[in-house]
């Protein structure tokens, strides 16, 4: 299926989001004044939770999603699999028989929290008016949800990729509220390369004429641009070896890329890896909101835990009392293992980097749940 074959109903985002998260709850947290000074009134955070909070609220764990992730980390009794089912659940490494696990949709997202597709106070979607925000803004919003839930300290804040960056920001912003921060496949600051790749993704969306500057909710969604952004991102999520081993130069069955034949769109026929990326693109474009993709990607570009805090070492000094568990995927070429090592070396407390052995690349933080689970058990979480 090519992305151009996908026809998305303008209202589909909302429907899919509602369908995917049967256990989704909403917590109003009031006005959120952002780092930039801009205020978003009446912010709501969508979240899910599993397990029971104990009497002294000492068993709460916050699981942080990555860029296009949702609050749906665990399937539980919903229809939709969770993105970390291998790690979180009854009897799992993050054991919901003992722990109260919370996963919050990031502000700016499209899975239940206030974001560009939400209605602004005037009753129209925010669209292009939704303000620029940072990962720090999201962490401060989440602290208010923790307040509402009666959680003064998380036993652990755990995440991979952007979720790892958010776990790190939690530890540095609220060191008294984080027992252990588990930071997987993430780094201290988005690098020049990460910014460059993010820019290409954001431009892919903004240059789609259906984007209309962000005000497309009553029209066709910019699925071509969002699909291209996803392709660019997904290549960076997988290792060269993984793509070579899975696809090589094989043609998509029934197609002949080295031929005069063209597809129905008058484009050249495809290699299998192209069809794979077309599928990834179409899948995301059906369920994700392009404005949220832009908002969260730009928030990730802002990530620099030392920014405005006197640099990395000084920022980390504030979190000297937090226990850190750091892990990197051996073949990650987006969040380089060297970046996790740099983060570890900058910490005042002695912190080891654990290795997630995987050929898959960055996405190992999603797929290698057995290794991550074993690590968390060894660390006594």
């Amino acid at each position: 299926m090519t992305v151009s074959e996908v026809r998305v109903d303008p209202s589909a985002h909302q429907e899919v989001r509602q369908g995917a998260a049967a256990g989704l709850r909403h917590q109003p947290i009031g006005e959120l004044v952002l780092e930039t000074g801009v205020a978003i009134p009446e912010v709501v955070l969508g979240y899910e939770s599993w397990g029971q909070l104990n009497a002294d609220a000492s068993n709460a764990v916050l699981v942080q999603h990555a860029l296009t992730g949702s609050s749906h980390a665990v399937q539980a009794d919903s229809a939709e699999p969770g993105w970390w089912d291998g790690l979180v659940g009854p009897g799992k490494a993050i054991d919901t028989d003992e722990l109260f696990v919370v996963c919050i949709n990031m502000v700016g997202g499209c899975y239940g929290s206030t974001g560009p597709s939400s209605l602004a106070p005037d009753g129209e979607p925010w669209g292009s008016r939704f303000p620029y925000l940072t990962l720090r803004d999201s962490v401060r919003a989440e602290a208010r949800l923790a307040d509402a839930l009666g959680i003064s300290q998380w036993r652990a804040v755990i995440g991979g990729s952007m979720g790892g960056a958010r776990a790190l920001e939690w530890a540095v912003t609220f060191p008294d509220r984080v027992g252990t921060a588990v930071v997987i496949a993430a780094c201290a600051a988005s690098s020049a390369e990460q910014i460059a790749l993010a820019q290409a993704q954001v431009l892919a969306i903004r240059q789609d004429p259906d984007y209309r500057g962000g005000d497309y909710y009553s029209e066709a969604a910019p699925i071509s641009g969002l699909g291209l952004a996803r392709r660019i991102a997904h290549i960076s999520y997988r290792s060269e070896t993984e793509l070579a081993d899975r696809f090589g130069r094989t043609a998509q069955p029934g197609e002949h890329p080295v031929s005069a034949e063209r597809s129905t769109e008058a484009w050249r026929q495809r290699y299998q890896v192209e069809s794979y990326l077309d599928h990834k693109a179409a899948k995301l474009a059906q369920i994700f909101d392009a404005n949220s993709y832009v908002t969260l990607t730009e928030a990730l570009m802002s990530h620099d835990v030392g920014r405005g805090r006197g640099g990395l070492a000084e920022a980390l000094a504030a979190a000297a009392g937090v226990r850190f568990v750091l892990a990197a995927v051996t073949t990650d070429r987006l969040y380089l293992p060297a970046q996790t090592l740099e983060l570890a070396e900058a910490m005042p407390q002695s912190t080891e980097v654990h290795w997630i052995e995987s050929d898959i690349g960055h996405d190992g933080f999603l797929t290698e749940t057995a290794q991550i689970g074993a690590l968390l058990e060894a660390e006594g979480l």
Copy 2:
């Protein structure tokens, strides 16, 4: 300068091409029947040459350009610098006092050879009607130009990146016509990852509404799409370290990426690495034709020297009499050093891989002319 500030006159491509190549000559080579069976009538190849062909035509060297390169490898007495001035010229490693050096614009390109922006027999630009072609087609076209010049054997065929792939194809297609093949920062076959990155670039152009399926020559050129393609490509041409060392997270002077301020396009303000990529994008979009970018990128996707020849080892066996000089850039993450090693190992003749030491990444084949020159001199070219 952001890409959206660039205003390209529809006729600018042709003007720039004419201006850049004062020494450009044109050689008609007749009808070219492509690998697909499709024929292009009345093909013309644009080329430049430096030095004098000797009496027995034994001093001819073919220099092959990369994806967006032109025939203008050497500045000589033109106004425009050549892309390999450090390597080719009087007294240089490829010494035009002794050698007759030829550089041919690839068929499908936009620097003087028949391509999508050329006029078809009906007097209109080929546009969307220009056929899909392969690197092998380009090599067979170039052999006809060699015939016309009276060159039965090149002393050497030399190229980097796509130029290296074309040098390899020359050696395997016409082993009796190549003394030495110098293959730099290239591989035996475009990998799944290279295909994936190429697809993203091609889609960036095809999804630009100004592309109009390829028939845009009487309208505005699809500069936004071409610029995005260039950004995606350029990130892959440079190493993570190079981008980190040059730009880090520095903001573009006068801009504030972490702020509520927006640029004139109502987009977020930029990091320096974004401005750098904007500049690269605008520069290419002003001088290159989007259809040629698609045509040459798809030709590069077709690259597989073993395709239809019984596999790599059998294909290379045909070129057992050719001397090969292989070189890889140590930090190349697009044409991985491992791929050059694989190519060397598949050769029947003993072939060493030489290392171009550079922090820059793939583009080392363009920038490290001193090392390449020393290698060629050591090899006695």
